[in-house]
Symmetry: C2
Subunit: 367 residues, 2 copies
């Protein structure tokens, strides 16, 4: 089936580009001697994680247990939970997962450590944990200089074992140029190196010294001391990555295929995809490099000006663009990771032929 025979709105992914993106990140990790543990919240798909595992991924990072379970079913042998796990239902699932794969947890509070510890002791197991470090995002994590105090507070907990440190320098998404991207990467690196030094000084072997976001891992020159990277977005890339200068537009693999439903006046067109297909991500931290809600492929001068739930409003100069009712457009989303979660499947295309239906296996699995 040709792409023109697909009903709209729908998501399509260029499989050649997807494979190239996945392969190149595998090579980057190998060249720098670091283990690649991709964050899978981007795609939530067994089909795509298999390609990552075939291209050098040693394990995967998961935002939610539901994702982790699907990725293990797809063949991942090692999985790390990116955020603290709380709640009896989740703890049961976490224990069950340890029987199928090597599982790592992330902690940044004594409260969560105690909860994990209690469950581990009841089950007669030990949870391998990393300490989450804040490298500038000001979200989860403790400051590197607090690691000693925090580690010592865990000393009596026999059910958890600290095996390293990790951070996500998500503040990079506020960067306006390559220099700022590199600065965020340096902050990530220094924060985990400092934290791991403190831990090693306390006699802890840091098997894991982890960092990563798609932009920072791509600009980092030296990975000396770093053991694991976990970018996520790179499988697709998106308009935000283009705005950050991480990749050129042609590296973006994911698109919304949409139809013009109405051209009520010159310079305004309405398409059949809205926020329920493209999300409303407008960049982060006031990043003014982002314009509108996506980039219209091959017609980047069209602005995706606004999104209702099921409709999008395009604006353009009528002397330069002449859209017609029924015309189809492809739009690179601002934030691919939000978008994949909105659909049941993504159509995989090669040279405009639809050759795969990629199921978003863990769509909506937020627990």
């Amino acid at each position: 089936m040709n792409i023109k025979d697909l009903d709209t709105p729908c998501l399509v992914v260029d499989l050649d580009q997807l494979e190239k993106n996945i392969e190149e990140m595998g090579v980057l990790a190998k060249d720098h001697g670091v283990a690649l543990w991709p964050m899978v919240k981007t795609h939530k798909s067994e089909y795509i994680v298999k390609k990552q595992l075939e291209n050098g991924a040693e394990g995967v990072l998961a935002a939610k247990l539901g994702e982790a379970e699907k990725m293990v079913e797809a063949g991942a042998k090692k999985v790390m939970m990116a955020y603290p796990i709380i709640g009896e239902g989740k703890l049961k699932r976490l224990v069950a997962l340890t029987e199928k794969a090597e599982v790592f947890c992330s902690i940044d509070s004594l409260e969560v450590a105690e909860i994990l510890n209690e469950k581990a002791i009841t089950e007669g197991i030990v949870f391998q944990c990393i300490i989450l470090i804040d490298s500038g995002l000001k979200r989860l994590g403790i400051a590197p200089h607090e690691v000693k105090k925090f580690y010592n507070s865990l000393a009596r907990l026999q059910g958890i074992k600290i095996v390293g440190v990790g951070t996500h320098g998500g503040h990079v998404y506020g960067a306006m140029n390559t220099e700022s991207v590199m600065k965020a990467g340096e902050e990530e690196k220094q924060s985990v190196l400092k934290a791991s030094e403190i831990l090693e000084g306390l006699g802890v072997t840091c098997h894991i010294i982890a960092l990563g976001s798609t932009p920072t891992v791509m600009v980092m020159e030296s990975y000396k001391g770093i053991k694991q990277i976990r970018p996520g977005n790179y499988v697709f890339y998106d308009a935000i990555q283009v705005a950050l200068g991480v990749v050129p537009l042609e590296n973006c693999a994911l698109r919304l295929l949409t139809t013009v439903l109405s051209v009520p006046e010159a310079g305004r067109a309405i398409i059949d995809g809205g926020s329920k297909m493209l999300g409303l991500d407008a960049g982060a931290h006031g990043n003014t490099n982002i314009r509108g809600y996506g980039i219209v492929k091959e017609k980047p001068w069209i602005v995706v000006q606004g999104l209702s739930e099921e409709l999008g409003k395009l604006s353009y100069h009528p002397d330069e663009v002449n859209l017609k009712v029924g015309e189809r457009l492809e739009i690179i989303p601002n934030h691919a990771c939000s978008v994949a979660n909105l659909v049941e499947k993504i159509y995989g295309v090669r040279n405009n032929e639809v050759v795969e239906e990629i199921i978003v296996t863990a769509r909506g699995l937020s627990q």
Copy 2:
């Protein structure tokens, strides 16, 4: 099961409030002598549409064919497509739907009219259509004064029959006070009344003279001349409706149930629900009455300051609020209509007991 035994993050709806909201809109329509055709994109749920049909809804308005099909399966006998339908796959489904329910289409261009006309003639049927009128939103629709010219351009099309006019005054969501809400409602009313007068003057019987958004239908004093209203959001209400002054906070029926995962410093807490549960709607048209990404129930002084995909960041004054790891919060979303689409099911609660699992039947059906 008690609400405290639910795993988080998840959506819960207060069934008593949901039923009250649905009942009151039914009474409003009856009192004003207008037919109620609720927009179902808000909930996409067979469970909820059944309650609307039991409470006076004569038909339903659907954004997408997938929604329309599910609502007809749930018992709707009349269904209107809110936006133009294009594409061979969709036209086939539209024809199939006419065999199960009375179907109405919406058009605002000769191109779509011709597409529908051709299909109708091939199938030996006639599509009943309304003309979409722009009442100020500047999205779909033609200006009232263009109705004569537009109608005359359709004269030779034997497969479509114009049966009325409709508008959605969505620009009301930019309103900052009740006066502006009333003004948007008046614009909706005048636009369809003017358009219907023109059509009646051309010999067209307007069986349908339709308008509506949740805010405007609730402030409109007189419905003289109007035949149909189609609010959607009212089943749940949300923080945007509260900011517009449409309802008090306690009328909001839908909440995100979430757990505090980390309190990295005084005044900052991280929860396990992010943009994949709450959406990123921040109001419309620069409405500064909206603060953050939702309202924390019973603790409205907490600001939902930012949403990552799977995490939310709360900020508050540490002297006033003292959140703890493991604590649960309920958050009223900014825009309920985006939120319901993100989950497979919503837990229905009465007095904190979970008594229903409401399936979001048409989740993700964007075609």
